[in-house]
Subunit: 229 residues, 2 copies
């Protein structure tokens, strides 16, 4: 029962079991993990350096799971919707890891491709570099916040609390609580933001056109001379 002819474990097997366990119980411990794998706790240390590395591997895998195939020719609002939804769904699957994900740099892995594609789409649509960067950061903020919101209790404002309020009580009463609150809030936010970006885009386009016109008028004679350069 020492060294088996075929290894019983591997980093992949360990991470897989750990992911299962976190999905079921919201966390994992090394001894429980070993039991689930039919092995002694110390055996795991032949394949991973410890609990920290298991978590790190899970984090990597989540980042990879967040890779979304983006059609670089699609409309930018569709891309924003798609990527935001996918990221939110991926993160909400492992809420206790969200702080970890949010506070760790992007990996050398597939998820960076998604972001690169989003940047390309936004850039092609005419957003300024600054706006592209800010929009991507904003999407991060919203998906992280919304994924935590997604795993929060359906009833954020219990009746006892509402009893002490006037406006809030009236409002929560008058709004149909039917559709999942978190989904509605996420959709509202994304659509609002897309709307705002749209007007921002058309404003900056108009400004660009005006600037071009002004430049053209001011340097008209000069440009005419070497128009083919």
């Amino acid at each position: 029962m020492a060294r088996p002819s075929k290894p019983l474990l591997s980093p992949e097997i360990i991470v897989g079991a750990a992911l299962e366990m976190t999905a079921e119980t919201g966390g994992f411990t090394v001894p429980e993990l070993a039991k689930r794998l039919g092995v002694r706790p110390s055996s795991l240390y032949n394949h991973v350096s410890g609990r920290a590395e298991i978590i790190e591997l899970i984090r990597r895998q989540m980042h990879e799971a967040m890779a979304v195939r983006v059609d670089v020719n699609a409309d930018w609002p569709d891309v924003v919707r798609l990527v935001a939804s996918a990221h939110r769904a991926s993160m909400a699957r492992h809420p206790w890891l969200i702080p970890l994900l949010a506070t760790s740099p992007a990996d050398l892995d597939t998820s960076i491709t998604t972001i690169e594609n989003v940047a390309t789409v936004l850039s092609k649509a005419g957003f300024t570099d600054q706006d592209v960067l800010m929009t991507i950061a904003m999407m991060d903020i919203i998906t992280i916040g919304a994924s935590l919101d997604l795993v929060s209790p359906q009833n954020l404002y219990p009746p006892e609390v509402l009893a002490e309020t006037a406006t809030l009580a009236r409002i929560t009463r008058s709004v149909p609580a039917g559709t999942p609150r978190a989904d509605a809030a996420f959709e509202f936010t994304v659509e609002l933001v897309i709307d705002a970006l749209r007007t921002r885009l058309s404003r900056s386009r108009r400004a660009a056109v005006a600037a071009d016109a002004a430049t053209a008028a001011a340097t008209g004679a000069a440009t005419a001379r070497h128009a083919t350069g």
Copy 2:
């Protein structure tokens, strides 16, 4: 050295020390907490039921810290800005508790007053009940996401990662990285959202006016008869 004439501990003292410790090290353990208080671990159990209750008390205190005095007569964009900033700052002070805060219902405490006041301001400004609720949820999403973003590394996209990209690399190069990235992203998001809410508000006002006009036209004769009712 058994029972002192004056108690050495109290829930407040324990929570205070725990908060100090989390601020310094990002967490706390019961034995360390006891050591800091010059007491044996078991002593704490005379005042709190256990580690879980200490965390719960911290959570309550954070909720209370997030209470913001809102001027109910201020402009709604100012209120949104103020409350969002204050919440983000409070949460970022204890990042490891953010998931806990986000996933626990509002307390019977002071923080609900802040929300009630925000609701009142938005309502008075003319937003529909639905929009008020969605806006508050959206503010939650944004402040939670932004507070986690605030504690993430300054350099989310390390050079090795950017090497594999074209658009993203160009953009991050062309944008001055001077001002703290997280602050800029938060401000961008809040202002964008306020802008969008502003146009949404004026749209719904126009719609209301139009509806009123239509109603008035249709029921003109009838209304004229009991205009004083």
